[in-house]
Symmetry: C2
Subunit: 343 residues, 2 copies
């Protein structure tokens, strides 16, 4: 092979990525190396209420600030990845009309950022970015280092709602409308609790933070004894899933039962993806994973009971490792993936 | 471009495929052209009770008979595809231990057929073969001819059980253990009817032929009036889903309600794959599709009610077109796919 030309040398200096986790409240931009290590990040308010142009300005500013904090020039950056709320069109780079981005309608975000920084930009949805982060540099990387397969990965994020991301043979399952992976809105009880999506019995209505609070509140209203009642001074509107976790740590039996049931019901949702997708690894993220084995043991037990033996034995059910950084690291990973194929 | 050499001419003569649908009762082998048209087929009994070697002999014989009926030489065949009951290992070409193939245990079926015919052979599971048949030459082809997308396709086969197959961007989702696509064993009611797989509330327990018969029988035992009672001379053990269909055609109200409910419950299962996989097309196969709009209208309505608007609008929910030939045509398609990439 011929020696690298000077032009090629210049290109190989461009070794870094910037990943942006664009949310309804904050924008987090991070400089990430090609192995998925976060070098520096900047977090600034999205300020959605101040209008689309203002928020896009903030987004550009977050990218510059992240580069400053990492003490790099944007000339060292190969590509930028943007993780945004959906619905969006990843092929066209357009943010369509996300419910939590008031005023946004068909914004060509990818082009706007490309024109600003003269760099390749990719746009994907936030749940996909978080799943890809765990695949590339979190729980998936950890499994691969341990000699275990992690090419097919499913990620459930338990927050206010339940988000999902699916990676098949190393590639994100986006679907033609970028709506693949809506795991929170799979029915686990066709006649079950109404979900805000219009469906009934969605996994999200049971195992999201909102679902945990609802089930706890219902139990208290039915007269179950719990220290949570004192913890909120009798005001059940102040219940949060974080308080349920605190009560669990204090040995509260209602909190223990609620978290156990959350694990069981999450296990139903996991068993469904184990039977349909035969994943190597199922990653659970969100604050509730702090409950550890109180959550994971019943979830794993339920999967063993419900799914076929062979795929159930395969699927490692593990906590996410990147926490809130999964989104920006994953967005950077998706950008790298777009540049050079699967990482 | 240079003129084709004589060697190349010889190779281009090898333009056909053989696909085999290997079942617990019968073996169907078909000669299929590279566009997915069935040229001729041979059906012979599998005779599982006579032992593994005997059945493998029958399988080889079915391949020769199909070639004879098509009046071709095996020299005209590019490759052979085998669709077999699972569990199996498609990468190693081994049939592991299917419940309905008594005595079969880790049989290297691919190698045995390759050595017999000196042709490339691929092995995949029967539900995948049927799904791929519909993708390549059935409902998927029809959608593509109509200018509609059909690169991501999900197939539900409603028989004694409910089988499934998933094709993402033109490629079968097999999973590392070849257990991907077990759509019949997704929970739609976590506290529902016990399934023979050990789980509760599997889609299969409601919408399989067995599930249709069970629900009909339960309704009759609870005193519902129906002509089915006379049709079986009061012997409810003689109920079949075919009889339920006949009663439907005769205007029986119980049969109409059972088929309507089957559509609704099938719609729950379809909505789950619509939300998770964002398919272009969902194909339903099996005898029950003869009920036509009695089944499809409530299924489509339920998907509209349960799934997100955008993927629900995308997903065409259509009957299979290949009937019992889907398995052998699809096995041939998988063989072609293995030779030259996606069809």
């Amino acid at each position: 092979m011929a020696k690298a030309s000077p032009a090629r040398k210049t290109r190989t200096k461009k070794a870094l990525l910037i990943g942006v986790d664009f949310g309804g409240t904050n924008i987090v931009a991070a400089v990430v190396d090609p192995e998925g290590a976060l070098i520096a990040k900047a977090k600034i308010p999205a300020e959605i209420s101040r209008g689309v142009d203002h928020t896009i300005g903030n987004l550009k500013r977050s990218i510059r600030e992240a580069a400053d904090r990492a003490r790099i020039s944007l000339k060292d950056v190969m590509a930028i990845g943007l993780g945004s709320p959906g619905p969006l069109n990843s092929r066209a780079g357009i943010v369509i009309n996300p419910p939590n981005l008031t005023g946004w309608r068909n914004i060509p975000l990818r082009t706007l950022i490309e024109e600003e920084f003269h760099l390749p930009v990719v746009l994907d949805n936030d749940a996909n970015a978080a799943a890809f982060g765990e695949f590339w540099a979190g729980a998936g990387l950890s499994a691969r280092k341990a000699g275990k397969g992690a090419q097919t990965l499913v990620c459930f994020t338990l927050g206010t709602g339940v988000g999902g991301g699916i990676i098949i043979d190393g590639a994100l399952l986006r679907g033609p409308d970028d709506t693949g992976g809506e795991l929170g809105h799979c029915t686990i009880d066709y006649d079950g609790y109404p979900c805000k999506c219009g469906n009934r019995g969605c996994l999200e209505t049971y195992v999201s933070a909102t679902g945990i609070v609802r089930r706890t509140r219902e139990a208290i209203e039915q007269g179950e004894k719990t220290i949570l009642f004192e913890m909120v001074n009798g005001d059940l509107d102040r219940l949060t899933s974080k308080l349920v976790h605190e009560a669990l740590l204090k040995g509260d039996s209602l909190a223990a039962r609620i978290i156990h049931e959350t694990g069981v019901l999450l296990g139903v949702g996991i068993a469904n993806v184990v039977n349909t997708l035969n994943p190597d690894i199922v990653v659970i993220s969100g604050g509730v994973i702090e409950a550890g084995e109180h959550l994971f043991a019943p979830a794993r037990e339920e999967v063993r009971k419900r799914a076929f033996d062979c795929p159930a034995r395969r699927a490692q059910i593990v906590p996410a490792l990147l926490g809130d950084d999964a989104g920006c690291i994953g967005a950077a990973g998706i950008a790298l993936d777009a540049l050079k194929g699967q990482p």
